[in-house]
Symmetry: D2
Subunit: 283 residues, 4 copies
C-alpha cells in the first residue's frame, strides 16, 4: 500500500505543521491522519504524527526523506518515516501462562494486529504445542540463576537482525541491561497490576491483602528499573471481597491480554512516542 | 486571551492542511491543537479544527478571515473562526428534575464549562429557588396543549438575540419546527436512554420491561424527528435484576448529567461538527 | 466435589429461607453461597440460589431432594438441585467468524468455563481445522432455503440426549420453533448490538448510520421472536466518528466474545433464572 | 418504616443462616434481602446481612435482639440490628474544594443518600455560603501547626453525641489518633488516587510525572497509617498524554465525588463490614 507515516519530535515553534504539510503536498501526498501535541506551546516539546497516501510511494520516498532532513537541520529534531507495508517483526517471550500469547497470535491471525511474529521464546517448554499450531518457531531457552547470562546470549543471537520489537507476554524473568540496550524503547512488557501500585512479584496477592476494589494491568516499555518504564496503556476490572487471589488471577488475565494487545497494536502502527519517562499515544 | 479556533468542512483533496496551516503561520499564529478527519481520503468530506494562539489576535483576525475566505472560494467549503474569549450564551430549559440543571450550573461556576448561562426557562415553577441561588434569571412559562403556541412564542422572544445555544436539561415538552428552525444544530437535548433504544416517553419503564443489563443516556442535537437527531455523546451504567423503575431513574440521573455536561462542554469549545445525521467530535 | 446447588422459584412469603436453610442444616450441609431476590416482598415472586457443601453428597442427595419436594408441595414452587461435579454438555453453533468460538474453547481449556463442549456445529466448513486443534468433533451441516428443514433435523438428531445447552456463537441462521422447543431457556445467542437497539441483520451498519458513540453486544436466550428473548448480559465499547463499519465489526468482536463467555459461565453455574422475559442473574 | 437490618460476623460453621432466618421467621419477619460471605467455609469468618420487614417492628425489636444475643452467646460473634428509620447523623469535613461536599448535599437533598447531615466543619471559611444555602450549620475551625490540638478538641466537642459518621470530603488536614479513636471505622475519607498508588499529598502531580493512563479515587476508612485504611470503593477515569496536572484535578473531581458518595451510601445502609484491613461490601 502506498501509505507512509511521518513521526517528528522537536522543540515547539510556529510553522512546523505548515512546513511539513507543505512539503508533503509538494511531493503529491494526501494527508489521511494528523495528530500533534505540545507539552507547552511556548518553549515545550512538539510531537507530530502524519499518515499520508501517495501513489507510487516507494519512488518518492527518498525525496520526501531528503526534504524532511533539510527541514530538521539545525533544530534538535528527531524524525522518521515509516511504511506500514513493511510489517514490524516481533518476538514474543512467554513463560507458562498462555493467555497473553494466544491473544496476540489470534489478533495477528485475524488481521487486527498488523505485524510479523517471527518467533516465540520461552524459558519453559509448556507452550510449544500451542505455538506450533500457529506455524511459528518456538525456542525453548531454559533460564536458571547460573545459566541466565548464557541464556540471554542465546536469545540475543536469535533476535539479532531478525526482530524490531520484543513483547514480554507474561515472561517471568528479569532482563539484563545488556538485553535492554539492544532494544531501546522496543521491549513491551505486561505487568499484572495498575502501576505504580504493586510493583514486583505476585501483585495479585498484594492486591488481595490490600483489599482493592479494582485490579489492573499495565503495558509499558521496559527500562532498567523494575516496572518503572514509560506506560503505554492501562486498564482495570472491578472486583469485590468475594474474589480471592486465584479469582484475581483469573479475572486479571482478561485485562492483561486486552491491555497488552492494544499497546502492541499502537506501537506497531507507530502511534507511540516516548518522552522522558512517559508516552505520547496518538491512538 | 489571544486564542482562535478555525473550523472547516470541505470536500477532501490534497493540500488543505498545508494551505490553512501556511496561512496561519504567515499571520503569526502558533497552532496549539489540530484535529482532522476525512470520511474518505478519496472524494469524501474533510473536517478540520485548529486551535491557535496569536499575540493581539483581535487586530489580526480580519486578515486571517479574509485569507480563509479566499482559500474557501470556489470549493464547497464551510468555515468559521471562533474566539473563546467571547463565551457562548446559553439558555437552559428544564421541567421539574434538577440534576442535569444543577450539574451544568455547578460546572459553569467551577470554571469547567466556559459558557455564559443567560437564563433558565421552565414550564414549572419548582426549580426557581434553586436557580435564584446561582443568581441567574428564571422564567416560568407554563405550557398546556392550548397555550403551547403562545408559550413557545414567549420563549423565542426571550431568546432572540440573547442566546447562542439552547440546552434541554430534562425539559419534558416537545418543541415545534418553528422553534427548531431558530436554533439549527444549536439545541442539545439529553435523552434518558441509550438511543436508538427506547425512543420516546418513559424509557426507564421500557428498559425495566425489556430487562436490559445496562441503562444509558444520550445527548443529541434536536431535529424534527423525535429523539432522532445527531448524537453527540452517550454513556451507560450497569444495572441488574434488583433494580426496579425507580432505581433505574435514580441511577440514570448520574449518567444523564455527566453525558449532557460533556456534550455541552464539547459544543461550547467548538469541538462538534454535524455531518448528515451524525457528529464529528474532536474531543 | 461434594457441592450442590438449590434453585427455587416460588410465590414470596415469610419463612422460605428459614425452611430451606433449616432443611439443609438438618442434612449436614454447610451453605457457602446464598442469594435471593423478590420482585415484591408482598405477593411477588421469590428466587433463591444456595450453593452448599456436604461430605458424601451423593449419598444424601435423595433425602435432600425429598425434603425439598415436601416443602414445595402445595405452593406454586419450581425447584431443582444441580451438582457441578456433573458438567453441563454444550454444543456450539458457528458460521464463519471464529472469535466467539475461540474464546469459549480457550476459556473451557483454561478451566475458567466448567463445561463439556461435546461438538461444534456449523453451516460452513471454514472453522473445521481450528476446532480439530482442540480435539472436538466438528459437524458441517450446510443450510440453504431448501434444505433448512432437513438440516435442522440433522442437527437435532446430533444433539438429542447429548447436550444440555446450545450456544450460538455468531451462528447466522434463524432457528425454527421446533428447534427452540427442544431446548427451552437453554439456547444462548450473542447478538452484536446493545439490544433492543439494532434488532436483526447487520447491526454494525445500522450503528454506523445512526452515529452512535457506543457499540454493544447482548447475550440472550433465544425465543420465537427475533432478538427479543430474555437478556442475560450486555456490555459496550466506546467508538467515535473515525470508526467505520469495518472498525465497528473489529472492535465489536471483543465485546461479543466477552459478553457471551460471561453469559455462558453464569448459565453453566446455574446462576441464571428466567422470569417472564427477563433474567435473574445471581452473579 | 418497619424495616430492620441484622449484621453478623462470626466464625463460619453450618447452621448460621438456618438459626437466624428461623429466629426472624418465628418473630414474624419477612426477609427482603440477604447476603452472606465466608472467607473460608472451613474455619473462616462468616459475614451476614439481612434486611427484613416486620409489622410494628418497634414492639418486636427487643425480643429479636434478645434472640440474637442468645444465639451469639458462647461463639465469638459480633452482631447488631440497625433500623433505617433512624437515620445516621453525619458531619462533613471540608477545606476549600466544594465538589465532594456539594455532591453529598445534593444526593441527601434528592433522597438518594438517606442520612441526616448535622453539620459541616471546615478549616477555611470559603464554603460557608454554599452550605448556608442548604440550611446546614457550618463551623469554621481554623487549623495551624500551633492550634492543631485545640482545633481538634473543638471539633470533637461539636461532634460528641451528635454524630454517627464523619466524612472527610477533601479535608486537607491529618487527624490525630485521639480523633480516630473517637470514631473507629466511622470516618470515611476520599483520597484522590487509586490507592495504594500515590499515597500522600498531591497525587495528581505524582500521577502526571509517572505518566499513568488512568487516574482514580479511593474511599476508605481512616486509620492511624496515612491512606492505608480499609478500602470501601474505588473507581477510575481514563486520561492521556494531553492531560496536565490541572486537567487531572478537574477530571479527578468527578471520580472523587462519585466514589465518595457511593461509599457513604453503602455505609449508611449498613452494607459495609470491616474485616482486618479490608471491607466486605454487601452492595
Amino acid at each position: 500500500r502506498d501509505v507512509g507515516r511521518v513521526l517528528v519530535t522537536c522543540p515547539d515553534r510556529p510553522g512546523i505543521v505548515a512546513a511539513i504539510s507543505g512539503l508533503l503536498f509538494r511531493h503529491g501526498a494526501n494527508i489521511t491522519e494528523l495528530q500533534q501535541y505540545s507539552t507547552d506551546p511556548f518553549g515545550g516539546t512538539f510531537f507530530l504524527r502524519i499518515e499520508f497516501h501517495r501513489e507510487d510511494l516507494a519512488g518518492e520516498l527518498p525525496a520526501i526523506e531528503e526534504g524532511l532532513a533539510r527541514l530538521a537541520a539545525g533544530a534538535a529534531t528527531r524524525w522518521r518515516v515509516a511504511t506500514p507495508a513493511v510489517r514490524q517483526r516481533v518476538a514474543i517471550f512467554v513463560s507458562k501462562a498462555d493467555h497473553a500469547l494466544q491473544e496476540l497470535l489470534w489478533r495477528t491471525h485475524s488481521g487486527e494486529l498488523e505485524m510479523d511474529v517471527r518467533m516465540v521464546v520461552s524459558n519453559h517448554p509448556d507452550l510449544g504445542d500451542a505455538v506450533a499450531g500457529w506455524g511459528i518457531p518456538y525456542h525453548h531457552i531454559p533460564v536458571t540463576t547460573e545459566t541466565r547470562d548464557e541464556a540471554e546470549r542465546r536469545a540475543l543471537a536469535l533476535l539479532a537482525g531478525q526482530v524490531d520489537l520484543v513483547v514480554l507476554a507474561r515472561y517471568m524473568q528479569v532482563l539484563t541491561p545488556r538485553f535492554l540496550a539492544a532494544f531501546p524503547d522496543r521491549i513491551i512488557n505486561i505487568h499484572h497490576s495498575f502501576l505504580p501500585a504493586f510493583v514486583g512479584a505476585d501483585p495479585y496477592s498484594a492486591a488481595a491483602r490490600r483489599g482493592v476494589k479494582l485490579i489492573g494491568a499495565t503495558a509499558h516499555y521496559v527500562t532498567a528499573e523494575l516496572d518503572a518504564g514509560p506506560i503505554i496503556e492501562q486498564d482495570i476490572e472491578r472486583v469485590d471481597h468475594r474474589h480471592q487471589v486465584a479469582d484475581l488471577r483469573r479475572i486479571g488475565r482478561h485485562v492483561e491480554r486486552a491491555v497488552l494487545a492494544r499497546a502492541v497494536g499502537w506501537h506497531t502502527q507507530d502511534r507511540v512516542i516516548v518522552h522522558s519517562n512517559t508516552t505520547i499515544v496518538f491512538a
